[in-house]
């Protein structure tokens, strides 16, 4: 499967290998004194060191060529592809890998599904079984983004294999640029095969537009235009018959204003309906066409269009109240109506779903409503993050008033801390000072590992819980991971303060993996011990989520919780075919907690928001005696006419006033003393284009029982609402028209004064709020006398709200446009041109991809699929790894080897002796008696000693040098055995042999000795 080789990034350095002969020449002479074997060894080591260094300088690379191939199948799951074809894509992949993928060749496959986003369904694997029977990833199918899918595929390709993408799609992209992305991929060596999804040609009816004229006025008839389009099959001139229904919505009211049969001929057709509006409100018109023969209409999703118009009148207020206490604010509603303010009460279980729904109101009041309120496990009313964002945007961008009325379920005590709503209010919902408010402690126990997407849900609920907690609150999370464990703070008892550790906690939660807990007891014991060491926590709460499978806790453990006053809420999730657990019910009952049975995991975050809120209850401040509020801003419009003072209160929710010059504190509580920043009762500020009011006590219920009988009651609350309301003044002769064309919305404002003269040179601004709640500033330019024009992109389907501020103190003008359906539903033909161009892109220097003309339906279940995505027509993947550091390290080691060889002489004579003995032993021979000291043995010994001495001398000098005149007599003269000295003749006999290995000094010494002997003999 792999081939290995070496490559060089700087081959020029290889020329330095010419140094090798030089090293040899120098070394051969200088190392002569080492003897033959050591010299050769030293030379070899030196040569290797030089070669390795040269290779390192040449930046040698270890190169591996892989024959493996990875194929990534990109499956288009957008709604422009019929459901049957989408399902067939999985069959095709299974069929394709079964027929063509080969384990032995190192083939891998991966699957990415895409719509607007792209998700990895199967990562690159070499196991066919990894493919599921259906697509499991969650996608936004309303759009097609081929480019992102290709990008994702590029990111998951393994580096050590050739790469191929198989694109299964109809090619109708409406986001991104697939060709540009594919070209980039192809240039980097990725081959692209295309299996087109052929769309059957069908007739297509679309409601293209619903047009309302600009400047609709109360009681004035106007024409509404509906544009229908019939994309008939080629040659088909038959009109498509059907019913056109037009409805008008205002708040909860919905009425059908037209219902008629129409026949839509091929091409465009415009229908006009006359309308008149008599009641001021924000109106949404919707036109829907239903074909008599469904087969005549390919897609139903593009059969409707809508438009808004707004008729100004007196102020409208939306009052959202808690479903757990319906009717709590009936008295306030009645008094406001008495003051000519239209109030619409709404339970927190029937919340708005779009920004457009809020446009009929000029102020929104959150009346003692918690972020989450519950009826039972599966019916929990909760403000989603998106709904909170809508409320905030509605104030900041669109100028609507926002009032939060107090009660024990609001502000920080209502679970609103750390939400966007907190940003919009003039007070923060958390208290930093320990002297003012006690802290709470929350322990989470996680054991829901067997519900679908368990990791996701458990992480989500843990995060939601931590969000609700204040900085000084304690939090711990106990789970089974090989044993009962705290997720954090193990050494500190598991329960630690949230403030300094919030980010760490969120990071740990993100990495959390939860095992199968055998019993509640172990983890609960840990939790009870953790709670026991928190002396300063006034509220202690625990939430257990489980399938009820673990064994129940012991009596001792339960009594530890009861004694400490820890309430335990248990959340039973179904995972073993049953739902509900007597064990979990008992735990909740014994500790005074709540027991939930949850069928739908979507309810889990809401339950956790609600339950974690119990820990925030210390924020409610209820002193034993009533207290008279301190009036801080008697001149404020809200308090105007109440100079006699405000009746006492018996409680409120602690907050921290924002340090912002725009914030006006109007009423303040006298207690707790010395903490004015936390005792706000009534504060207001201007937030963006709107105004927000925070009233931390209630409106005549639990804490303000004297207020309903107070004569200033109506005055204060009506003035509060009117102060916060969106300006409702006359907008004069300003008319705004908005029109969608080619993915952009054009806003045209005509400005005239009371005498119908054009107003010029106005500093006009406008903002659009997109369906995903983003703000788009619109640049408005004057293009003609009294005519101002701006535009913004509006490709995504949904409602776009536009606020125009005319300047000159005029009230803002609102309008909106609706983009009825995604461009996904406009195309009903396969984009073959694009798909063919993608398949024709050559992969690097290799061939172009395959375009499977038959299309998906023909090959999905075919016995033999000719197109083989695992074909070997791509150059093999080559991976390089620099190895010069290893070579340098090896060279360093060998260099020390060279030094060792030259400086240290190792004798192996013992080895010969040992081998001889072993031979004798094995062969059963008698050991040979030691031979007498013959002349030959002596000569041999002499040679050996001479070589040793020479070696030492050479080593001592580091390099062998020639003899010097000062050289003294060799140690041999001293060390030589006496016998040798007594047998000069014998020594002379061996001279010829010795001379070869003798140095100049030794030869000189011998000559001197000989001369001396001759002289003695002559004497």
């Amino acid at each position: 499967m792999f081939e290995h080789s070496l490559a060089f990034d700087r081959p020029g350095y290889l020329a330095l290998l010419v140094l090798v002969p030089v090293v040899w020449r120098l070394g051969y002479r200088s190392l002569a004194g080492l003897g033959r074997w050591r010299r050769w060894l030293a030379l070899s080591l030196r040569t290797l060191v030089v070669v390795l260094l040269v290779l390192a300088l040449a930046d040698v690379q270890y190169q591996r060529r892989s024959e493996g191939l990875t194929v990534v199948y990109l499956l288009d799951q957008s709604l422009s592809v019929p459901a049957q074809q989408r399902a067939a894509m999985i069959d095709y992949v299974r069929n394709s890998i079964r027929q063509h993928r080969r384990d032995a060749a190192g083939d891998r496959f991966a699957v990415i599904v895409f719509g607007r986003d792209a998700e990895v369904e199967v990562p690159p694997v070499s196991v066919n079984e990894a493919l599921h029977s259906r697509v499991e990833s969650q996608l936004d199918p309303e759009y097609t983004d081929l480019a992102t899918a290709i990008q994702r595929a590029k990111a998951i390709f393994p580096y050590d294999a050739a790469k191929r993408i198989v694109l299964v799609t109809d090619g109708n992209q409406n986001v991104g640029n697939a060709y540009r992305e594919a070209r980039g991929a192809a240039e980097s060596g990725v081959s692209i095969d295309v299996v087109p999804v052929h769309l059957e040609p069908t007739g297509e009816i679309a409601v293209e537009k619903l047009d309302l004229p600009s400047g609709v006025r109360r009681g004035q008839p106007f024409d509404m235009r509906i544009v229908l389009r019939n994309d008939a099959k080629a040659g088909d001139e038959t009109p498509v018959k059907g019913r056109l229904v037009v409805v008008r919505k205002a708040g909860q009211r919905e009425e059908t204003i037209a219902e008629e049969s129409v026949a839509v001929a091929p091409g465009k057709q415009v229908l006009t309906i006359q309308q008149e509006i008599n009641q001021p409100d924000f109106y949404t018109y919707e036109a829907r066409f239903v074909a008599d023969d469904p087969a005549a209409d390919g897609m139903a999703q593009n059969n409707s269009a809508s438009a808004f118009t707004h008729i100004r009148g007196s102020g409208q207020v939306l009052l959202i109240e808690n479903i757990e206490r319906p009717g709590e604010f009936d008295y306030l509603v009645e008094r406001l109506r008495n003051e000519d303010i239209e109030v619409t009460p709404l339970g927190s279980d029937r919340l708005f779903n779009s920004l457009a729904e809020l446009q009929r109101y000029d102020a929104v009041v959150l009346a003692n409503v918690a972020r989450s309120s519950a009826a039972d496990g599966d019916n929990v009313a909760s403000f989603s993050d998106e709904q909170i964002e809508m409320l905030v945007r509605n104030t900041r961008e669109l100028g609507c008033g926002l009032i939060m009325l107090g009660g024990p379920d609001t502000f920080g005590a209502g679970g609103w801390a750390n939400t966007k709503l907190e940003e919009a209010m003039p007070v923060d919902f958390q208290i930093k000072s320990a002297e003012v408010v006690p802290v709470g402690a929350l322990c989470l126990m996680m054991h829901a590992g067997e519900i679908p997407q368990s990791n996701y849900w458990q992480k989500r609920i843990a995060i939601e819980s931590i969000k609700v907690l204040g900085a000084r609150d304690y939090c711990g999370l106990v789970q089974w991971n090989g044993g009962d464990q705290w997720l954090w703070g193990q050494s500190q008892g598991g329960m630690i303060r949230v403030g300094p550790s919030r980010q760490m906690m969120l990071a740990r939660i993100d990495r959390m993996t939860i095992g199968d807990m055998p019993a509640f007891d172990g983890g609960m014991k840990m939790a009870a011990t953790g709670f026991a060491r928190l002396d300063d926590a006034s509220v202690k709460h625990m939430i257990i989520i489980s399938d009820g499978d673990p064994a129940p806790p012991s009596r001792g453990t339960m009594s530890a919780f009861v004694q400490q006053g820890v309430k335990i809420t248990t959340v039973a999730v179904g995972s073993h075919g049953t739902l509900g657990s007597q064990t979990m019910r008992d735990i909740a009952v014994q500790t005074g907690g709540k027991y939930y049975e949850v069928r739908n995991s979507n309810a889990l975050p809401k339950i956790y928001q609600r339950e974690a809120r119990r820990v925030a209850m210390p924020l409610v401040y209820e002193p034993p005696d009533p207290m008279a509020p301190i009036v801080e801003a008697p001149q404020h419009e809200i308090l105007r006419g109440t100079e006699a003072g405000v009746p006492p209160i018996t409680g409120y929710v602690l907050t921290t006033v924002k340090q912002n010059p725009l914030v006006e504190v109007i009423l303040r509580a006298p207690e707790p003393a010395g903490k004015p920043e936390n005792t706000t009762l009534l504060a207001a500020w201007t937030y963006g284009a709107g105004k927000a009011v925070a009233m931390t006590t209630d409106a005549g219920a639990r804490w303000t029982k004297d207020w309903p009988s107070w004569d200033g009651y109506d005055k204060v609350f009506s003035q509060m609402v009117r102060w916060a309301m969106r300006p409702t003044g006359d907008t004069g002769n300003f008319t705004v028209a908005a029109d969608v064309r080619d993915g952009r919305t054009e806003v045209v404002i005509t400005a005239m004064d009371d005498e119908d003269q054009f107003l010029n040179d106005l500093a006009m601004t406008a903002t659009a709020v997109t369906p995903d709640l983003k703000s788009l500033p619109i640049s408005i330019q004057q293009t003609a006398p009294g005519r101002y024009v701006g535009s913004f992109p509006s490709e995504a389907a949904g409602s776009y709200l536009v606020v125009v501020t005319p300047g000159g103190g005029k009230a803002p003008i609102r309008t909106g446009v609706s983009v009825g359906y995604s461009p996904e539903y406009r195309d009903n033909e396969t984009n073959e041109a694009l798909l063919k161009s993608l398949a024709q892109l050559p992969a690097g220097g290799g061939p172009a991809g395959d375009y499977v003309e038959q299309g998906l339906a023909a090959i999905a279940l075919a016995q033999t699929i000719e197109q083989n995505p695992f074909r070997r027509d791509l150059p093999p993947a080559v991976t390089n790894r620099p190895i010069w550091p290893w070579l340098v390290a090896l060279g360093s080691c060998l260099f020390w080897g060279d030094v060792f060889v030259r400086r240290v002489q190792v004798s192996f004579t013992w080895l010969l002796v040992a081998l001889r003995r072993a031979r004798d032993y094995l062969l059963g021979r008698e050991p040979v008696a030691a031979a007498p000291e013959t002349m030959s043995r002596l000569r041999s010994r002499k040679r050996e000693v001479t070589q040793q001495l020479e070696g030492r001398r050479a080593a001592a000098r580091f390099e062998a040098t020639g003899p010097t005149a000062e050289a003294g007599p060799p140690p041999l003269a001293v060390a030589a055995p006496p016998e040798a000295a007594q047998r000069p003749a014998a020594a002379a006999e061996g001279e010829g042999e010795v001379a070869e290995g003798e140095s100049y000094t030794e030869r000189l010494l011998k000559v001197k000795k000989q001369v001396r002997r001759d002289r003695d003999e002559n004497a």
Binding site: D516, D521, G522, A551, P552, G577, T578
Partner: protein, 298 residues
């Protein structure tokens, strides 16, 4: 130091002397691969049966060579957590979350007429979450269960309900998740009372004979004993899910030593669920969260 401390207190912590003589198994979903195996049984022919979190029952030889496999009929509610080879050679599968005991031939053929239970309830012959089933020398079956009502029920060889005992609790004779059982030569029943961290011994009529153990990690103590096996020489082997080890006891409950520690290397365990002896007296430890089997000689 840790090894020394462990040695001094009687436990072997994965040193060279404690290395298993075989480690096999690989995580995966292909035939022969394992995904958190939860029960093991070995038959007289040394065929090793494993059931894992994908509800596959797979058969291997004692060296880990895959032979064949099959799946239980349903697994949406949960997977089996026990396996036993009956004296007839048939495989008994406590199908935990379907309140029944399935019966298979060694080749995987289902013996549907021999299925025991299937109804959830507290009555005779009804089951909660079934954990294990064992057979005594007379062919009587003992079935353990947990959930709202922890107990053991005894059935005749024909499947007729005979008696029950236990109940949820911490008192002697009660259970908190009786996860595993073994029958000794005297037809006495040894029960791993997992969440009470103890072992209980009963006679065939449910009379409590012995009780030992206790929560902890010191030798002689137990932490979630999930598996139990007898070597026929008077020793009781207990596999501890929470302590990641196997401990050897005398029948009286005196600890003779431990094997294994938490980890992923050979000789280390990660939440072991079960143990079983083969015909050569080697102990096979189901190292569940490491997706493998370790074979060790004591």
């Amino acid at each position: 130091m840790a090894a020394l401390a462990a040695a001094l207190c009687g436990c072997i912590a994965g040193g060279s002397g404690s290395m298993p003589d075989a480690v096999w198994g690989r995580q995966g979903i292909r035939p022969g691969e394992l995904e958190k195996p939860r029960a093991i049984a070995i038959d007289a022919h040394d065929r090793v049966y494993l059931v894992d979190m994908t509800a596959r029952i797979q058969v291997y030889d004692v060296d880990g060579r895959y032979l064949h496999g099959w799946k239980t009929p349903e697994s949406k509610n949960g997977r089996p957590t026990g396996l036993t080879v009956a004296r007839s050679g048939r495989l008994l599968v406590p199908d935990t979350h379907y309140y029944r005991v399935l019966v298979y031939e060694p080749d995987g053929t289902a013996v549907t007429e021999a299925t025991l239970g299937g109804d959830m309830g507290r009555g005779p012959g009804q089951f909660g979450w079934v954990t294990d089933v064992v057979e005594d020398s007379l062919g009587n079956l003992y079935v353990s269960q947990y959930g709202d009502h922890d107990r053991i029920q005894k059935f005749s060889p024909e499947g007729k309900f005979l008696l029950e005992w236990g109940g949820s609790g911490e008192q002697p004779g009660q259970f908190r998740r009786p996860q595993s059982m073994a029958v000794d030569g005297d037809d006495h029943l040894w029960v791993a009372d997992s969440c009470n961290h103890r072992i209980q011994q009963f006679d065939g009529q449910g009379k409590l004979l012995r009780l030992w153990g206790g929560e902890g990690s010191a030798p002689g103590q137990l932490y979630y004993p999930y598996g139990i096996a007898l070597d026929g020489e008077g020793h009781v082997y207990v596999c501890e899910y929470g302590n990641h080890r196997v401990q050897k006891f005398t029948r009286e409950g005196r600890s003779l030593g431990c094997w294994g520690e938490s980890g992923r290397g050979p000789g280390q365990l990660n939440n072991p669920w079960a143990i079983a002896f083969d015909s050569q007296g080697r102990l096979h430890v189901l190292d569940s969260n490491n997706h493998r089997v370790q074979r060790v000689r004591f």
